[in-house]
């Protein structure tokens, strides 16, 4: 049990312990004080880079957790940083919320689940922590006791359950008689599984719900904004990444060529990218726009995944690109959410100008402006496109334009919006730290050094610059056009909800009809079998017959008949 192992265990157990401790009245104050710092062990474990592996035979079907490969480390960095920033931000932001304790319980539990699923090294414990995160997050989404939050919570729960069940089916079919499987063997198992296509489909859809794949994304623009700002940051930063982590862990990238699945991912990815932009631009609330921006960004990741699935040779490159892209997106998006939170409530004067400036920096970074870590992420994606022909590159650039459009939309909404000026001090520090970390990503990208030179060479700077400029230009041109359109957040969700309501009405109607039919049948049977009137006549008939039998004469006759029958029977 090396120091790293202890750190890994602490990373999961500490937030969980604090979450539970808050429930106990006597420990509540101490636990609430400690709550914001529960993500520290994970942060330290992420930074120190040492490998660790802890195996607990007793837990579930034999749980193993630890940091063993680069994917785990990158996701650990991402998750720890986002949760730390969110918790630090929430320390002041939630200070006066009456339901503070409940928020911290659910935040700690969700953090523990999120960190747990990153560190999990076997299928059963991965699913365990994944579920803990999913159901914990409901508490964050439905935290604010308003009608929208309750609706958002309901939508989130339904989609989350759908995702859970898809994954349960996928894991059960995948694992089969082996009951449990180390994660590093999972891709090989998926490749060799007799039901490979079914399992891959279930995995894509199951994790797609969390990662906001097209059509499955409908809960995201409704749930993320409904949560309090720190929770939104965590949701869109760390939890979306969990979906991508699921794909990276289970899909047989580089093991077997799945052209069909690859094409679907590619198409879905770009569809999500452009659809996200088209709907996001029309939104009124900056947080909803950011949510749609996440859908769009994840579209790129899905596309990259599609490339890896289609041609196994590009897998290592694609994985590296996805890793860096997701890492960058998590930090940038979290910073943006926290930034908008501050910008909208910062008092006028220098604080507001500073907030807007910070917002501008992270917006540019996300849009992939030259010399920003966003650009670096875009470059790693472009490299992937090298052998896929010009179309892929063009699509990426178009995507960049789209991102810029969304960012401009966010900035304009933030600038125009006159939110209630916060009387309380604003949590500047965690936001600025996160922003710095995002920018610093350039200096020490955990993946590959040589990309850095590429960033500064003129060709890539130009290719990064023109989409951003074009985006800004289009934004100003189309300002008036956008004001007229008003697509409700969650777009397709409204359709789904109406269909869902109609379906539920049908199902409960059918069930109630079934119950009525069953009772009617039972009543009919009861009438048929024991009709009181018939029972009465039966009763009278039988007692009259009985009375007749008890007389002398009938008994004599019966006796005679019996004697004769007996004699005849044994002659």
């Amino acid at each position: 049990m090396t120091a790293n192992d202890a750190l890994a265990v602490a990373a999961i157990v500490l937030p969980l312990a604090v979450g539970v401790a808050i429930g106990i009245r006597s420990l509540r104050e101490a636990a609430l004080a400690a709550a914001p710092w529960t993500a520290l062990p994970a942060f330290v474990a992420a930074l120190d880079g040492g490998a660790s592996s802890v195996h607990a035979d007793a837990l579930l079907f034999g749980t193993t957790i630890g940091v063993e490969d680069v994917v785990t480390r990158v996701f650990l960095v991402l998750t720890a940083t986002v949760w730390l920033a969110s918790a630090a931000y929430a320390r002041t932001y939630m200070a006066w919320d009456p339901r503070r304790a409940r928020y911290w319980v659910f935040a700690s539990i969700t953090a523990s689940g999120n960190i747990g699923l990153v560190l999990a090294q076997d299928v059963a414990s991965f699913y365990l922590f994944y579920s803990v995160m999913t159901f914990g997050a409901y508490g964050l989404v439905a935290h604010v006791s308003t009608a929208e939050a309750r609706r958002a919570g309901a939508v989130y729960l339904k989609m989350a359950l759908l995702g859970e069940m898809l994954l349960l089916a996928a894991f059960v079919i995948l694992v089969g008689a082996r009951i449990d499987l180390p994660l590093h063997e999972a891709p090989r198992a998926v490749a060799d599984s007799p039901h490979r296509d079914l399992v891959v489909g279930l995995l894509l859809a199951g994790f797609g719900v969390k990662a906001g794949a097209i059509v499955l994304h409908v809960w995201l623009p409704v749930a993320h904004p409904a949560a309090p700002t720190p929770a939104s940051a965590a949701l869109s930063g760390a939890m979306i990444a969990a979906g991508v982590l699921g794909w990276l862990r289970f899909l047989p990238l580089g093991i077997v060529a799945l052209p069909g699945a690859g094409r679907i991912c590619l198409a879905a990815g770009f569809a999500a990218a452009f659809y996200g932009v088209a709907v996001g631009v029309t939104q009124r609330d900056p947080k909803t726009v950011l949510a749609y921006s996440s859908v769009s960004q994840m579209g790129f990741v899905t596309a990259a995944l599609g490339v890896a699935l289609a041609s196994p040779s590009t897998a290592p490159l694609a994985t590296a690109a996805i890793l860096f892209y997701v890492l960058h997106h998590a930090l940038a998006k979290a910073a943006l959410f926290l930034g908008t939170g501050i910008a909208m409530t910062a008092p006028t004067g220098w604080p507001r100008r500073l907030a807007l400036a910070g917002l501008l920096v992270s917006a540019l970074d996300l849009a992939g402006a030259p010399l920003s870590s966003g650009a670096l992420a875009k470059i790693s994606l472009k490299h992937l496109a090298a052998d896929r022909g010009a179309a892929f590159g063009m699509l990426l650039s178009a995507g960049a334009i789209g991102s810029t459009l969304l960012m401009v939309r966010v900035l304009s909404l933030a600038a125009a919006r006159r939110g209630p000026v916060a009387r309380r001090p604003l949590p500047w520090v965690p936001w600025l730290l996160l922003l710095a970390l995002d920018v610093a990503l350039l200096a020490a990208p955990p993946i590959d050094r040589e990309r850095l030179e590429l960033l500064v060479d003129p060709a890539s700077v130009a290719s990064a610059a023109w989409p951003v400029l074009a985006g800004i230009a289009i934004a100003f041109a189309g300002r008036r056009l956008v004001r007229g359109l008003a697509i409700p957040p969650g777009d397709l969700l409204v359709v789904f909800e109406r269909v869902g309501a109609w379906l539920r009405a049908r199902i409960t109607g059918a069930v109630r009809a079934g119950v009525r039919a069953e009772d009617a049948l039972r009543a009919w049977l009861a009438r048929r079998v024991a009709v009181p009137r018939r029972r009465q006549t039966l009763l009278r008939e039988a007692s009259r017959l009985e009375h007749g039998l008890s007389g002398f004469a009938p008994t004599g006759v019966a006796l005679l008949v019996l004697g004769i029958v007996l004699a005849w029977a044994s002659r």
């Binding site: 007793a58 059963a124 349960l168 079919i173 089969g176 069930v511």
Partner: protein, 495 residues
């Protein structure tokens, strides 16, 4: 009669004798009655531990009493019976504590605890029965001893529920008796032996199928297979401890346990499969799973919704046991314990809510989480377990059932598992959501004592909730029900 031979009999007597003694206690000496009850429960637990250690080491304890020409009364403690005995022994101790608290100051408590102990003794008899006739004897005494508990409240509605209960269970008993008599007439004494005893009768398909149908119909009444389940929701009119231990655990499990015995130790899974009866039963079980969940969706009363949930969940055991497959068997048998723990927690919570806040309807639970946090945490854990969310008990068994289904290639079982999980979520999660995130229409009545509800009621709820989490989380340990089920499957089902 060595000492070992007396142990199974002692297990039955430790609840039968106190039960009879309690009848003669006057109403007012509660202290004596409670100590008698609790000491009997603890004594039984100790006995079960002693037997448990022996059985795990491979010994078989058997009490054989001369009964009828051609058949003895046999009580045998093998691994399968040990599982059910230990579940019942633990839950009897917990439910006795709960009942003492729940029935504080209500009339006829001596009568209640007398019949309560006798019905547990019958459950022990059912679990330990070594042959089909002994099983039938205790199966019927279970019916007789649970009837007074169903009608305990004495209201006309309770007596009507009792009538329905009797109509179903007595007819079930007659069917079971017919099946037993046919088999005894055809094959002499039917001792429960791994792999089944009806080998030489294989030729007479008609007789075997008829006997199987009669046996399963008789057992199906208590295992609440459709359409024989109607008595269970109606019997919810009984006091909470009765619904908790008996209708969620003892009585219902006696039916499922009986079906397991008949399929594995009378017919043998291979013969049953060759006869094609197991596939029919699997379909009925699957239909019950879905039907129970759908009906639960339509119930507004909390206890009736839990009752239909029991109807659905018990059929998991039947499904696991009837579809041929080692993992499925393990999943089915382990579910016998897991479902028992989760369901008893839910009924304890329902009892607490009814007793403390007078909540009976599902919609009255808004905001109950703030007023009774510990009860609602237990309810949430048990509900999530029923849905099959890791690391709780329900997940472990659903995982094994799924894995077993994949192993034998019957994918429709997975579809049933997923559908039932979604339906469970549909009728349990709204309750949990209202409890934690709803706003109560009127402020809750203040707490009477230091705790949210009497300690006698709160402790059992917490213990069973913790057990249903522990059983799931530590499923891989040697002493967990899952390990026991694996031992059973290996030692008894596929020797």
């Amino acid at each position: 009669m060595t000492l070992d031979a007396l142990l199974p009999l002692a297990v039955v007597l430790t609840s039968l004798l106190p039960g009879i003694a309690i009848f003669w206690l006057a109403e007012r000496d509660t202290r004596l009655r409670t100590t008698l009850n609790l000491s009997a429960a603890i004594a039984k637990l100790a006995l079960v531990v002693v037997i448990g250690r022996g059985v795990l080491a491979g010994e078989i304890f058997e009490t054989r009493l001369p009964f009828v020409p051609g058949a003895d009364l046999v009580l045998r403690a093998d691994s399968l019976s040990l599982l059910f005995v230990s579940l019942s022994a633990v839950l009897w101790l917990v439910t006795t504590v709960y009942a003492v608290g729940y029935l504080e100051g209500s009339p006829h408590r001596s009568r209640f605890f007398g019949f309560f102990s006798i019905s547990v003794a019958s459950t022990m008899g059912v679990a330990l029965a070594g042959n089909l006739l002994t099983f039938f004897v205790f199966y019927e005494t279970l019916t007789l001893s649970t009837y007074p508990l169903v009608v305990h409240r004495g209201t006309p509605e309770a007596v009507r529920a009792g009538d329905l209960y009797l109509r179903y269970t007595l007819s079930g008993g007659v069917l079971l008796l017919t099946g037993t008599a046919i088999l005894y007439a055809a094959a002499g004494s039917i001792e429960f032996t791994a792999g089944g005893v009806l080998g030489e009768l294989a030729g007479r398909r008609g007789l075997l199928i008829a006997a199987f149908a009669l046996l399963i119909a008789g057992l199906g009444v208590k295992a609440a297979l459709i359409p024989l389940h109607t008595w269970l929701p109606v019997a919810m009119v009984a006091p909470a401890p009765v619904s908790a231990l008996l209708h969620a655990v003892a009585v219902v499990k006696a039916g499922a346990f009986g079906i397991t015995r008949v399929i594995y130790d009378v017919y043998g899974i291979r013969l049953a499969d060759r006869l094609g009866v197991t596939s029919v039963l699997a379909v009925v079980a699957a239909a019950t799973i879905l039907y129970g969940s759908l009906k639960a969706l339509a119930q507004d009363d909390l206890k009736r919704r839990l009752a239909y949930s029991t109807v659905s969940q018990v059929s998991f055991i039947v499904l696991g046991v009837t579809v041929v497959g080692k993992l499925l068997t393990i999943g089915g048998i382990a579910h016998l314990v897991h479902q028992g723990l989760m369901k008893i927690t839910l009924f304890f919570c329902a009892g607490n809510l009814a007793e403390e806040l007078g909540i009976h309807g599902v919609r009255e639970l808004r905001g109950a989480g703030r007023r009774m946090p510990l009860t609602m945490i237990a309810f949430t854990l048990a509900s999530l377990g029923m849905i099959g969310i890791p690391p709780l008990a329900g997940f472990v068994t659903k995982w094994y059932l799924g894995a077993g289904a994949v192993e034998v290639g019957s994918s429709w079982v997975i579809a049933v598992l997923i559908a039932s999980s979604l339906l469970n979520a549909a009728y349990l999660l709204p309750i949990v959501r209202d409890a934690w995130f709803g706003e109560p229409s009127a402020p809750w009545p203040a707490r009477k004592g230091r705790f949210e509800v009497g300690l006698w009621l709160l402790l059992p709820t917490i213990v069973t909730a913790a057990a249903s989490v522990g059983v799931g989380l530590f499923a891989a340990t040697k002493l967990s029900p899952l390990a026991m089920a694996a031992l059973i499957a290996e030692r008894e089902i596929h020797p």
